[in-house]
Every structure is written in structure tokens, then in C-alpha cells.
Amino acid sequence: MGRITLDKVSKAFGDVEVIPPLDLTIEDGEFVVFVGPSGCGKSTLLRLIAGLEDVSGGEIRINGQDATQTPPAKRGLAMVFQSYALYPHMSVRKNIAFPMRMAGMPKDEQDRRIEAAAKALNLTDYLDRRPGQLSGGQRQRVAIGRAIVREPDAFLFDEPLSNLDAALRVGMRLEISELHKRLTTTMVYVTHDQVEAMTMADKIVVLQAGRIEQVGSPMELYRSPRNVFVAGFIGSPKMNLLTGPEADKHSATTIGIRPEHIAISSDAGAWKGTVGVSEHLGSDTFFHVTVEGFHDPLTVRASGEVALYYGDTIYLTPDLAHLHRFDAQGLRIA
């Protein structure tokens, strides 16, 4: 069981309010990702749930029980830190055993759980090494192992992959997702990387300046972003956002169209532009196109290889079914 409810939770450091009162429910077994630009308060929110910071107002309930004043260790949560926070003077085995040792668990039960966790995380051969002798990915697994053995109600991850190199990050992403499928324990995951959010989450919480901009499944956020911020943040490459006369035509202040929803043609289309830099990924090609009268260049996706070069003229046609319209407040017009 791991249902976490935030009820009007707020946080201020001195006079600076970093999180205005917010409500959020994390259902049991859900994989929830907090995503947002750096400084948006996502890590603070996680630390509030963990109990490493006091809330300035509101209530945190875990499984229906008020846990606002409960010390971190008593909340039944386990946390994996950005820096892994392994104890450098202890072997991997002792690191994993530490929470159980603190809980006074019998030795044979400790050993049983360590063996199981080590097997699941491919750490069996490394149990007697120190963290300093492990690679980044292995350290990450030890940190996860230390969290698993407690059999917590929920796992908290604070940007756990940001210290790994790109290749390793993809692998660990899969491992964590798989771990979630196997354990079906609630996981709360903080990241600034929207790709991680899209690929891993059951539910994404987009944060900006401490406020929740939108909560929803990855595809909900992709299909119907509630405002300009979410529209621009979710999706890669970014959605093209246009203002001015072009938006007026659709009776909106801002319109958005994703690169993959623009058709290209060499002879006719709604917009005429000039090809700038093109990025060839093999499966896709992204063109940066300057359109006369538009403030910023548009990003356009074409599948496969397209024979267009720097300086060529190109015609673009947005797919109106996937056009997003936003009003003067930046909110979605249904």
C-alpha cells in the first residue's frame, strides 16, 4: 500500500514561497514523475514528501494517515538520491544492510533480503566491494538495493539518472521501469528530462515555479497540453509556438503545432519558407525552417531521408486536427 495525498501543501524558505499551496494524489502502485525546469520546486516537493523538509502549511497523508509531523524514517518511504548517497566507508553489503540494521532486523532475515536484492540487481559479485570501486551504474543499483530491502510503501527518486552518461541512462531507465512493473510499489520520480517523464510515467506532474501546471498520463499531456508552458515542455523536439497574425487567423493568442504535424512539400503549401540547418537522425530528419513573417524558425519533422538542403525553398502545411490554440492567459482553448 502506498497512497500519498498532498492537501494544500506549501513551502516557504523565509519570505520566499517556493511552493504555493497545492493538492495532489498519488495512487497506490502508480509511477508518478515530477517534471519541470530546474528551480521549479520539484525536488523540494519530493523532500517534503520524504520528510527531509517541513511543510509550511497543509497536510501530507500516507495511506490515509496524517504523516505531516512524522520523521522521515517512520514514513515507510525509501529514497534514492541524485548523488546515490552511498556510505563510502561501508561495503556494498553493509550499505544495503544499513536500513535493516537500523530497524533492528534479525541477521538471517537481513542476509536473505540482501541476497535477493543483489540477485535482482546483478550485484552478487560486488557485495564485498566499497562504493568507490564501482561504476556509476553499479552505484545506482546499490542505492536502489538499499531502498528495496526495506520493502517500503513507496520509492522516491531524486533525479537518479542525471549523473550517468547517456547510454547508461537509457539502460537504467528500462531497469527502473521494469522494477516498477515487478514490485508494483508506488514510485515518485523527479527529473528535469521530459524524455524520462514520457517514457517511464503512469502519471506526469508538470511543475513550474512551485505550481502544478498539469497532471495527466504522458499521452494526455502530449495530446492536450493545458497551457502554453506544458505544450512547450512536453514533446521532443519542442512544439512550435506562434503568435501574431497567424494565431489571429485561428482566433487565438498563441497557436502551437508539433514538428511531426507539419507536412512538407517542394511546390505548394500554407507557408513558404527557407530551409536552414537540418538534423539527420536516420529514421527522422528535422528541418529548421525560416518562414517569412514568423518570429522564430519552425522545426519540422520529415520521416527518413529527404533531399532538401540549406537555402532551399520549402512549403509547409500544418495538420489542423493537431493544432493547439491558447488564449491570452496561455490557457488551452478547447
Partner: protein, 290 residues
């Protein structure tokens, strides 16, 4: 960043240290202040009476006070000068690659381990003694008249002894600072065509400023209260030629049993030390832990 709970424990955890130091500072200090207004001599118990500022008047008008004040300043500044300048050059030398760095470093640090009483005695007898000291032998070898260091230049001799004790400390700190100097910065300035002396002056010395501050701060703390070296070598003499404030007050209180006068001296010493302390704290406040 922490919780109310951890802030509360933090206060509890720090309080023994704070309370003890507060007591250590306030209790004897207020007693000193109180005694300084009394006529109080340990040889005449029961005769204590309030005398107002008389003790201060006697202490401050005593010519010995002025001599002691001058000597204290000379001693502190002299030792600082010798150790900082000597330390910079020694550190420069020891920072170069050479054979046996480890052993030489140990040799250079060694004087710091020597207790003040020992170093004072060794220097006094075995080196500075005008008859049997090594320096006397050396002078005679060159056909010179032996020089009675502690009688003829007592303060300078003491500055020498104390400098020998503190030179290792200054050298070590400055050496550590040199080693943390970014080599690329030096190489860049070399590419820019700066000659060695300019590199030393514009890059190395500014880099050392923090370390020099530390040396000055820590040494001053200890140098203001130099005591054993004087007690063992000259007893403050001849006359008051090598009496510093610490020694003067010691004589007044424990040798002449004049608690009132000694206490007044103590208060004066504390005030003077505080002036120095404020000055130093300003300096490190800027330079340290920025």
C-alpha cells in the same frame, strides 16, 4: 535547509560547547573585572577594599606598562614578519621537485613539535650562552668577541627563538597553498610573456593572501600570550627589556601577590587583545570562508 526537528537537535548539540565557552569567558572575566577595583593582596588576606580606579592608575602609569606594551607589539610583529617572509621563501623552495622531499619536510616541521620551555632552554644554554654556547664557539672561531645574546639583545633573541618555533607552521600552510595553485594559470601567464618575478608578484602572492591571513590570525592568537620562552630565558629582563604584557601581569599577580593590580593589568590586556581581535576578525571575515 532542514526540518524543525533537526534544527531543534542542532541547538541541543551545539549548546554544551557554547555554554562551556561562555562560562569560560564570562566567569573569570567578571572576577578579573571585580578584583581590578579592589585593593587585594594575597599576602594581606582580609584587607580587601574598594579602591575605584587606583589599580588602573598605578598600572597604566607604571613605566613598565609602556615598555611591556611596546615589547608585545615588537614581539608579535617581529615574529610575524620573520615567519611570513621566511615561510614564503621556504615554501617556494620546498615546492620545487627535489630528492628526499618527505624527509626534508619532516625536518622543517620538527620545531613545531618542540615545547616552548624546551626550545627556550636549548637556545638559551646551548646556542646563546656567551661562554659555552655554539654561537660563542662560532664567534671565537672567526676571532670575534662572543656576544651575550640574552643580555645585550634580549627581545631580538626571544623573537628569534619564537620565530624558529613558528616558521614551520607558516611554511607548511604556505606550501599547501602553493600546491593548490592552478598550474594552468601560471602557464597561461607564461604564454602571455610574464617574467618569473611578475608571475610571483601578480599570481602567486595574491593566491597566497588567504593562506597568509590564516598564518597571521593563528600566530597572533598564540604570540600575544608568549610566556614560557620569557620565563625560561630572561625572566623579562634585564630590567623590562624583554617583558611583554603577559609576563608583566604574571609578575604582578603571582610574584608580587598583588591581585588587584594584576587584575587591572589583565583587564587592560583583554581590552588590547580585543582591539587586535576585532581587527583580525574583520580581516578573516573578508578573506576566510568567503
Amino acid at each position: 535547509m532542514a526540518t524543525k526537528h533537526s534544527r531543534a537537535s542542532a541547538r541541543i548539540m551545539i549548546s554544551p560547547a557554547v555554554i562551556l565557552l561562555l562560562g569560560w569567558m564570562l566567569i573569570p572575566l567578571s572576577m578579573t573585572l571585580y578584583f581590578s577595583f579592589l585593593r587585594y593582596n594575597l599576602l594581606m588576606p582580609g584587607m580587601e577594599e574598594f579602591t575605584g580606579l587606583t589599580n588602573y592608575k598605578y598600572f597604566l602609569t607604571d613605566p613598565a606598562f609602556f615598555a611591556a606594551l611596546t615589547n608585545t607589539i615588537l614581539l608579535v610583529c617581529g615574529v610575524l614578519l620573520v615567519t611570513v617572509i621566511g615561510g614564503v621563501f621556504l615554501a617556494l623552495l620546498l615546492d620545487q621537485p627535489f630528492f628526499g622531499q618527505g624527509i626534508v619536510r619532516i625536518l622543517v616541521i620538527a620545531p613545531f613539535f618542540v615545547m616552548p620551555t624546551v626550545s627556550a632552554l636549548v637556545w638559551k644554554n646551548m646556542f646563546m650562552n656567551p661562554v659555552n654556547g655554539l654561537f660563542a664557539h662560532l664567534f671565537k672561531f672567526f676571532g670575534l668577541e662572543p656576544f651575550d645574546f640574552l643580555a645585550q639583545a634580549p627581545l631580538a633573541s626571544i623573537i628569534g627563538i619564537v620565530s624558529w618555533q613558528w616558521l614551520p607552521f607558516a611554511t607548511l600552510i604556505l606550501l599547501t597553498a602553493f600546491q593548490s595553485l592552478d598550474q594552468e594559470q601560471l602557464e597561461a601567464s607564461e604564454m602571455d610573456g610574464a617574467p618569473w618575478i611578475k608571475r610571483f608578484w601578480f599570481i602567486m602572492l595574491p593566491h597566497l593572501s588567504r593562506a597568509i591571513t590564516v598564518v597571521i590570525l593563528i600566530q597572533t592568537i598564540f604570540l600575544l600570550s608568549v610566556f614560557a620562552e620569557i620565563l625560561v630565558t630572561t625572566n623579562g629582563g634585564p630590567g623590562t627589556a624583554s617583558t611583554n604584557l603577559t609576563y608583566l601581569i604574571y609578575m604582578q599577580s603571582l610574584l608580587q601577590f598583588d591581585v588587584g593590580g594584576g587584575s587591572a593589568g589583565g583587564v587592560v590586556a583583554i581590552i588590547l587583545a580585543n582591539i587586535v581581535a576585532i581587527f583580525l576578525m574583520r580581516m578573516i571575515g573578508k578573506n576566510l570562508d568567503a
